[in-house]
Symmetry: C2
Subunit: 86 residues, 2 copies
DNA sequence: TAGGTATTTAGACAAATATCTAAATAATAT
DNA sequence: ATATTATTTAGATATTTGTCTAAATACCTA
């Protein structure tokens, strides 16, 4: 169930901030890591969880991996919430 | 930060199901517990987390505690997501 | 007041999570 | 080829989380 993975992915401030960063522009894993006071392996792990939830996509370009925001999956959460509201 | 607590509260299937139950009608803690294959103390704990996130309100009526759904706080999550989308 | 019902609190425990360091993999450049 | 850079994987550890049982609290009724 993707809703499960999305809620899990969103339940962490660092991951939510990563999404906010990617809103501005696509970034490499290294660039993302530099924005936080956390080691690269930890950021890599966060990116993996975001990827599993399909909140980001990734593309390898040479030695870099470029991450992009994918908000389409948020629609599932949105409709889940709207259903609850009405 | 309430957004934090809301995301935390929503990151559990049992708690999301509790909210869906309360969508139909207000319920006592006992009634909610009966709907799950989980002990009453565990449900009580879930209700506490939902309450901290202000996703439910509670009112004591005699020996019963009646829980109600409160979706207003979902607006914060909604606008957080909409900001991310645009 | 005593006994019963509804709910929460306390304390324990296993599983999940966020983080780290060290090592592995992959691509580039000299 | 070798060294350098970018990223991920592996393994360890402390913290958080979901669950349980047992006990405490609160209310009701006879």
């Amino acid at each position: 169930m993707i809703v499960n993975k999305v809620f899990k992915a969103l339940n962490d401030n660092t991951r939510r901030e990563i999404l906010n960063l990617l809103k501005q522009k696509d970034m490499t894993a290294g660039e993302i890591a530099e924005a936080f006071n956390i080691t690269k392996p930890s950021i890599s792990h966060h990116l993996d969880i975001l990827h599993q939830a399909e909140l980001v996509t990734s593309e390898k370009q040479g030695q870099f991996v470029i991450y992009s925001l994918n908000t389409t999956v948020l629609d599932d959460i949105l409709s889940w919430m709207i259903t609850l509201k009405k």
